[in-house]
Every structure is written in structure tokens, then in C-alpha cells.
């Protein structure tokens, strides 16, 4: 399973000289395994992914964690949607009430966007998810709701040899009783348990988180504690706060890891990173 990061910024694209190292595009991750092609989230990073996509890819599965704008703002600029030879499936969280299609149409229509789904050469095929297990080729996928405002999913993707866990927007302290001491009562544990690579929300330092409780995001310190609890092999801190410069991100990680003895690798996710799992 090959994984490539096309965007790991949170909330808002943040291009500029102060974010050159870790990147400014919002959430978008490419997964390839044989002929299977999956994209996690359609943030602004999906625009470049579409530009460099292998033209031989004819079927694409886009798995949305949720419908906050930073996770779908790139969808209208994803070139394969305008290619009649490509079939695009969009998978996302069921709300239990309004259909996923209707909720997607709010963005994919004027005044937010000039083109409607019905004007595309192929209407994307929409699939609603909750607590589900399904397969694309040899890849097994598990989805479940995690703690974040509005219907939000985490994804666990396994090829039988390795596991990628993806929770870009996840508030651990609010979604857990007695965190980080009780896995049974911690949102997202089933997604991340023993993963080879966990891409996890680490938007804030501990002081910032104290003023943003309930916003749906975690501190780097909590993300590290979660990685430790889940016994992951690698933790990539994801969803970098758009106000944070490269230097500030490095400082937050450094202070969050101070005095910690960890038996797994923790690093800041970087746009352009590639992993073989």
C-alpha cells in the first residue's frame, strides 16, 4: 500500500513562505494498491493530485471524513470529475437525516460553485457510511464515527500486511473517558489500534487547546498520548493549524515530546510525504 500526502493543513489553505516546509494545502491523501485508487478527503490538495494523476486510472474512490469545507473545497477542481472516461465514487458519513448527496450539493451548486453534479459528464456515485466494513480489491476498510462536530468518520485501511489509520479531525479529550487510560472508552481506538501509520489531528499546543474545547481538534500532546495508547508504529501529526508557521509547528512538537519516552516515531506530516506500508 502506497500513501502520498497532498495536503495536511487544517481549516484553511495556508500558502506562503512561512509554511513552505510542511505545506499549505488542506487534507488530501492518496492511497494506491495495485489497480485500486483511493483518496482520503478532497481538501485543496486534491487539485494537484488530479493534475498529476496517472491517466490509466479509470475508477477512483474518494472517502470523505466529513463535510467541513477544508475537506471538500478541492472537489470542484478535481479534473477527473470532468473526464467522461473516469468513474468517481464519493463515500462519506451518513447524517441519519439529510442524504449525503443533498449535503454535497450545497457546495456543488451556485453561489458557492458554478457547476452542478448534473452538469458533469458522469454523475459521481454517492455512498453513505457509518460503522461499516467494506473492500476495494485487496484493501479492507473500516469506518466509524469519531468525536468531531457533525457526522465525522475515521478510516482504517488494511491490505492484510499493514494498516493506515486516518483521523484528521478528532477531539480526543472530549471523546474519551479518563483519557488516555481507557482504550475501550476512547473515540477512534478501533481505527488506530496497532496501526503501522496513524495520521492524526494535532492542531494545537496544550495551551491553545484549553481555549478551543469543543471545536473538534486535539493538541499534539493528546495525539501523542493516543498513539501511545493505540501502540501505533508511526504517528504523523496532521491538520496543522493555518496560523502556525513551520517554525511554530516544530516548536510545538518539540515541547510536546519533551520528557517523553516513546517506542514509536512521531513527526510532523509534510505535504509531499510518501509512505510504503
Amino acid at each position: 500500500m502506497k500513501v502520498k500526502i497532498w495536503g495536511c493543513r487544517g481549516s484553511l489553505p495556508a500558502p506562503g513562505p512561512e509554511t513552505m516546509v510542511y505545506g499549505g494545502n488542506t487534507s488530501c491523501v492518496q492511497i494506491t494498491h495495485g489497480d485500486t485508487f483511493i483518496i482520503l478527503d478532497a481538501g485543496s490538495g486534491i487539485q494537484r493530485l488530479g493534475k498529476y494523476l496517472n491517466p490509466q486510472v479509470k475508477e477512483i474512490h474518494i472517502l470523505l471524513t466529513h463535510l467541513h469545507i477544508d475537506h471538500m473545497m478541492g472537489l470542484g477542481f478535481f479534473q477527473p470529475l470532468y473526464n467522461p472516461d473516469v468513474t468517481v465514487h464519493i463515500w462519506g458519513p451518513s447524517s441519519g437525516k439529510e442524504s449525503l448527496l443533498n449535503r454535497l450539493r450545497r457546495y456543488f451548486s451556485p453561489p458557492l460553485f458554478p457547476v452542478m453534479f448534473s452538469e458533469l459528464p458522469n454523475h459521481p456515485i454517492i455512498h453513505e457510511l457509518g460503522y461499516d466494513n467494506f473492500e476495494f480489491g485487496a484493501l479492507k476498510i473500516h469506518s466509524e464515527y469519531v468525536c468531531h462536530p457533525g457526522p465525522t468518520l475515521g478510516y482504517r485501511i488494511s491490505d492484510g500486511k499493514g494498516v493506515l489509520a486516518y483521523m484528521p479531525d478528532h477531539e480526543l479529550s472530549l471523546g474519551s473517558a479518563n483519557f488516555p487510560n481507557d482504550p475501550e472508552w476512547t473515540s477512534g481506538f478501533e481505527i488506530a489500534n496497532s496501526a503501522d501509520l496513524l495520521l492524526h489531528d494535532g492542531s494545537y499546543n496544550a495551551k491553545e487547546y484549553a481555549t478551543k474545547i469543543g471545536w473538534g481538534h486535539s493538541s499534539v500532546r493528546d495525539a501523542v498520548a493516543f498513539g501511545k495508547m493505540c501502540k501505533v508504529k508511526k504517528l504523523a501529526i496532521f491538520h496543522h493549524e493555518p496560523m502556525h508557521s513551520d517554525h511554530q509547528l516544530e516548536h510545538i512538537l518539540h515541547t510536546s515530546l519533551r520528557n517523553q519516552k516513546l517506542d514509536f516515531e512521531v513527526f510532523l506530516c509534510t505535504e509531499g510525504d510518501e509512505f510504503e506500508i
Binding site: 447524517s95 441519519g96 466509524e144 464515527y145 468525536c147 457526522p151 473517558a177 475501550e184 472508552w185
Partner: protein, 131 residues
């Protein structure tokens, strides 16, 4: 042990912040959590017992009528909710571990999450009076 679904995790967080006694059970009636105010009714501490299987906690928590006769389980609000997945309310007496007979009112509600996933029930108690 597999992790609990988000709805139950958040229900526990909510219960933990309340001053009214709350029980949380799974779909089989196994007791997953009771909060600190419920410890007073139960006479036990969650930190010492953890969750309990139905047959275990049913022997400790015994609803009775005014004369002390055991009540049939099918008439109890939490059992009705678990059976029908709808809210139910009622009042009954219990004897706490101090030997006091307490009249309590209970409202039980099913926990049904997104995708209509049924995960269990919450029972909220009000201590009405000491006999």
C-alpha cells in the same frame, strides 16, 4: 475488549458531568457505567466495580414496591426501553446498602446513533423520597 461506539462514549461523558444518578447499559442490559451520584443509590463505586454483567448487577439493584415485594422485571422502565427501544418512565422503591428504603423515579431512553445504530440505553434517576 472492543471500544465502545462514539454515542456511548459521549453518553458517559455527559453522565459523568451530571448531578443526577445515571446508568448506561448496552443492548443486552449489561451495566457499562454509572456515575458518581448513582454510586449513592447503588452503594458501590464504579472505580471499584467497573462494568457489570446483567445477572451480576440485577442481584444488587432490586426494585421493590412499597411493601418490599420484588417487582417483575418486564414492568421496569429500563427493561421496557431495552425491549422496545422507546423511552419509558416509572417509579419504584429500592433498599440501599444503608438499609434505607428509597422511592426513586426513573426515565430510560434508548441510545440510537447516526445510521440508526442502537447501542444501548441511559437511565436517569431522581430520588423522590426516603421512606
Amino acid at each position: 475488549m472492543p471500544a465502545q461506539p462514539l454515542e456511548l462514549i459521549l453518553a458517559r461523558q455527559f453522565a459523568d458531568s451530571l448531578s443526577m444518578p445515571v446508568f448506561i447499559v448496552d443492548t443486552e442490559g449489561n451495566l457499562l457505567f454509572y456515575n458518581e451520584p448513582a454510586e449513592e443509590i447503588f452503594g458501590l463505586r464504579f472505580s471499584e466495580t467497573g462494568g457489570m454483567r446483567l445477572e451480576e448487577w440485577a442481584t444488587i439493584f432490586r426494585p421493590i414496591d412499597e411493601e418490599g415485594n420484588p417487582l417483575p422485571p418486564e414492568g421496569l422502565p429500563l427493561v421496557k426501553t431495552l425491549t422496545n427501544q422507546i423511552p419509558a418512565s416509572g417509579s419504584f422503591y429500592i433498599n440501599n446498602l444503608k438499609g434505607e428504603r428509597i422511592l426513586i423515579s426513573v426515565t430510560a431512553v434508548p441510545v440510537i446513533g447516526r445510521s440508526n445504530r442502537y447501542s444501548g440505553a441511559m437511565a436517569i434517576f431522581w430520588k423522590t423520597q426516603l421512606q
